[in-house]
C-alpha cells in the first residue's frame, strides 16, 4: 500500500517535471523549427510548427555574411580571454580569502560581496564614460577587461577552498610550502571541479553577453556574434528575424554542447554557492 503510494507520487512528479521541461524547451524548439521557415511563415499567428516550405535560406543568409567569421572570432577571443583570466584570477583571490590570513580580509570580502548586490546594468553608463576617456570604446579590451574577474567567481572559489579540510593546507605548510606553492601544488589541482563549473559559467555568460558589447563596440569588424546578428538584419522598418533566429541557434550550439558534456560541473557549481556561506 505504502509502496504504491510512493509509486503514484513518483509518477505524478515525473509528469509535472516533464510538462515543465516541455514548457521550458518550447522557445528553443520554436527557434529551431523557425530557423528553417521563411520569415513570412515564421511570423504567422497562430504560430505554425512545421516548416512549409522547408528552407535553409536563413542559414545561407547568415553564413553568407562577409563578417560572420569575424564576429565568430571576436566572440571566441572575448570568451577565451575571460574564461582563462577568471579561472586563474578568481581561484587565486578565492584562495586568499579562504585560506590566507591578512588584516582587513573580512572587510574586503564584505565589500566584494556588496558589489554583487549591484545589477550590472547600473554600472554600464559609468563604465562607458570611463572607457571613453581611456580609449577602450570600440575595442575588444573594453569587453574583456571588466570580465577578467568577478565577485561571484571569487565567492564560488572561496566556498570551494573552505570546503577543503584545513589539515591539508597545514600539512603543506609544514612540508615546506609557501602560500604560493600551496596554491600551485595543493589548492589549484584540487579545485578542478569548481574551476570546471566556473569556466562553464563564464563561457556561457561572455558568449551570450549582448548589452555590454552593444554599448561598447561600434564598428562592424569589432562586433561579437549576438551584436552582429542584430545589426545585419535590422532593416529600416522591421527586423528580419528568421536569419537572427538561425544565427542564434548556431551561436547557441557550443553552449548546448558544453552543457551536455559538463552539466555535472554546473550542478557542482550550484551546490557550492548554495552551500554554507
Amino acid at each position: 500500500m505504502r509502496l504504491s503510494f510512493r509509486l503514484i507520487m513518483a509518477i505524478v512528479g515525473y509528469i509535472v517535471l516533464t510538462v515543465v521541461a516541455i514548457i521550458y524547451l518550447m522557445p528553443f524548439i520554436r527557434s529551431i523549427t523557425a530557423s528553417f521557415m521563411t520569415w513570412e511563415q515564421a511570423q504567422r499567428m497562430p504560430p505554425e510548427w512545421i516548416p512549409d516550405p522547408f528552407t535553409t535560406r536563413p542559414f545561407e543568409q547568415i553564413l553568407g555574411l562577409k563578417y560572420f567569421p569575424v564576429w565568430l572570432i571576436n566572440s571566441v577571443i572575448i570568451s577565451a580571454s575571460i574564461v582563462t583570466a577568471q579561472t586563474i584570477l578568481a581561484s587565486m583571490a578565492g584562495f586568499a580569502f579562504a585560506r590566507v590570513k591578512f588584516p582587513g580580509r573580512e572587510m574586503l570580502f564584505s565589500l566584494l560581496l556588496a558589489t554583487m548586490m549591484m545589477p550590472g546594468i547600473v554600472t554600464l553608463m559609468p563604465t562607458y564614460a570611463l572607457f571613453s576617456k581611456v580609449g577602450l570604446i570600440d575595442n575588444l579590451l573594453g569587453i574583456i577587461i571588466p570580465g577578467l574577474c568577478g565577485a561571484s567567481s571569487i565567492f564560488l572559489m572561496r566556498q570551494y577552498y573552505l570546503s577543503m579540510p584545513q589539515d591539508l593546507f597545514d600539512a603543506a605548510r609544514v612540508d615546506g610550502c609557501t602560500f604560493l606553492k600551496i596554491f600551485r601544488h595543493i589548492a589549484f589541482p584540487l579545485a578542478r571541479p569548481a574551476l570546471g563549473a566556473l569556466a562553464i559559467y563564464q563561457f556561457l555568460g561572455s558568449w551570450n553577453s549582448f548589452l555590454g558589447p552593444l554599448a561598447i563596440l561600434k564598428s562592424i569588424e569589432k562586433f561579437t556574434l549576438p551584436v552582429g546578428l542584430l545589426f545585419a538584419f535590422n532593416r529600416a522598418w522591421y527586423v528580419e528575424y528568421s536569419p537572427i533566429i538561425a544565427g542564434s541557434t548556431l551561436a547557441a550550439a557550443p553552449t548546448i554542447i558544453i552543457f551536455i558534456i559538463f552539466n555535472k560541473y554546473l550542478i557542482k557549481g550550484i551546490q557550492l554557492t548554495a552551500g554554507k556561506r
Binding site: D167, L168, D170, V174, D175, C177, H185, L190
Partner: protein, 365 residues
C-alpha cells in the same frame, strides 16, 4: 635531534585563552605526551610548536633556536594529523616525496629516501595507489612515512591513532613508540585525550586543562603523586574516589567530616592538615587502595553495597557510605549482595589530600 622548550607561551582566540602561560621542556629524544580533555589547549600547544599558530606571548625554542618568527617549513619538524591529511590528488609515492620535492632534494635521492621510508613502514606495495584506495591503517602509515622521510628534528603527532579501530590502535601504539623512540630516537610531542595511550607510550606526560599545564611527570608520578585534583581524577580508570569534607578535631586527633561519615587522618598527615582546621578539603583514594570487610567482627567505615561490576579479571564494588558513593576494586571471586552491609578501610599511605578551593595537593610536612 633537538629539545623543545616553551617559555610562558600564551595564545588567545578572541576572548578565550587557548593556551595560558605554558612552560614546557621536552628533552632531546624524549617522547612527550600532551594529555587532556578536548578543548584543554593541547592541540593548540602543538600547533604553536609547529608554527601553524603564532603565540601572543612567550618564546618557543627548537634546539637552541628561537623559532617564534620562523615559518613552519623551516622549523625542521614533521607533523602527523588526526585526519592524516594525505594529498588526495597524489599517489602514495608522491605524497611521501612531497616534502622532499618542496625542499629541492635531487630526484634520485628522493627516490631512495621514499623507498627507505616506505620499507620501514611496510608500504612498498602501496606506492602507486591513491589515498582514497587505502584503509585507515594504511593511510596512517603513509602519513608517518611522509613525516619520517624528511628526517626531522622533532615529530609532532596530533591524535594520530584516534581514527583507527580499537584493535589496530593497540598494535600501532606499540609500533609507533618502537619506531619513533627506539629506532629513530627523535624528539616527539604527541597529543592525545586517551590516558592509556599516554601511559603506555610516553617518557613523560604533560596533563593539560583549560590551557594550563598542571603537571609534567612520568606515568608513575602522575598516578601515585598527582599534584592536582584534576590530574588525580583524570589519570586512572575507574577514576579516583573523591570525598569532600571539613577538617575537624576529635579527641585531640584530626578527622575529616564528610557528608555522613568520619574519616580518621593518618598520623603522618596530622601536621600538614593542622592549618586546614575547619576548612574544606577533598580526600582522594583509588579503588584499588581500599580494603573491604564483610560479616561479623569487621572493622572500618560502614557502607552499603549498591552493586558489582564484573570485568573478568577484576570487579568493582560500588557502595554508598554516608552520602558518598565509592568504587572499590575487589577480588572477582568475592560475593556481594545488593544492600549488604560492608566495612571499608583506605590504605593510609595511599590517601591523597587536596585543597577543595584551589585543587592543589596538600603536601606532607
Amino acid at each position: 635531534m633537538a629539545r623543545v622548550m616553551l617559555q610562558g607561551v600564551t595564545k588567545r582566540f578572541g576572548d578565550t585563552i587557548a593556551v595560558n602561560n605554558v612552560d614546557l621542556q621536552v628533552a632531546d629524544g624524549e617522547f612527550m605526551v600532551l594529555l587532556g580533555p578536548s578543548g584543554c589547549g593541547k592541540s593548540t600547544t602543538m600547533r604553536l610548536i609547529a608554527g601553524l599558530e603564532d603565540p601572543d606571548e612567550g618564546e618557543i625554542y627548537i634546539g637552541n633556536r628561537l623559532v617564534n618568527e620562523i615559518e613552519p617549513s623551516k622549523r625542521n619538524i614533521a607533523m602527523v594529523f588526526q585526519s592524516y591529511a594525505l594529498y588526495p590528488h597524489m599517489t602514495v609515492y608522491k605524497n611521501i616525496a612531497f616534502p622532499l620535492k618542496m625542499r629541492g632534494v635531487p630526484k634520485d635521492e628522493i627516490d631512495r629516501k621514499v623507498k627507505e621510508a616506505a620499507d620501514m613502514l611496510n608500504i612498498i606495495h602501496l606506492l602507486k595507489r591513491m589515498p582514497r584506495q587505502l584503509s585507515g591503517g594504511e593511510m596512517q602509515r603513509v602519513a608517518l612515512a611522509r613525516a619520517i622521510v624528511r628526517e626531522p628534528m622533532v615529530f609532532l603527532l596530533d591524535e594520530p591513532l584516534s581514527n583507527l579501530d580499537a584493535k589496530l590502535r593497540v598494535k600501532m601504539r606499540f609500533e609507533l613508540r618502537k619506531l619513533l623512540h627506539d629506532e629513530l630516537k627523535v624528539t616527539t610531542v604527541y597529543v592525545t585525550h586517551d590516558q592509556v595511550e599516554a601511559l603506555t607510550m610516553a617518557d613523560r606526560i604533560a596533563v593539560m586543562k583549560k590551557g594550563r599545564v598542571l603537571q609534567v611527570d612520568v606515568a608513575d608520578g602522575l598516578f601515585n603523586r598527582p599534584r592536582d585534583i584534576f590530574v588525580a581524577g583524570f589519570i586512572g580508570s575507574p577514576p579516583m574516589n573523591f570525598i569532600e569534607g571539613v577538617v575537624n578535631e576529635h579527641d585531640g586527633a584530626l578527622v575529616i567530616d564528610a557528608k555522613g561519615l568520619e574519616l580518621p587522618m593518618p598520623t603522618h598527615f596530622q601536621e600538614a592538615l593542622k592549618s586546614y582546621l575547619n576548612s574544606e578539603i577533598t580526600v582522594g583514594v583509588r579503588p584499588q587502595d581500599i580494603k573491604v570487610f564483610q560479616g561479623k567482627g569487621a572493622r572500618g567505615i560502614l557502607g552499603y553495597v549498591l552493586g558489582v561490576e564484573r570485568l573478568g579479571t577484576e570487579s568493582y564494588l560500588h557502595i554508598i557510605s554516608g552520602d558518598c558513593t565509592i568504587v572499590i576494586r575487589v577480588d572477582p571471586e568475592s560475593k556481594f549482595k545488593e544492600g549488604e552491609r560492608i566495612w571499608w578501610v583506605p590504605r593510609e599511605t595511599r590517601l591523597h589530600f587536596f585543597d577543595t578551593k584551589t585543587g592543589a595537593v596538600i603536601a606532607k610536612t
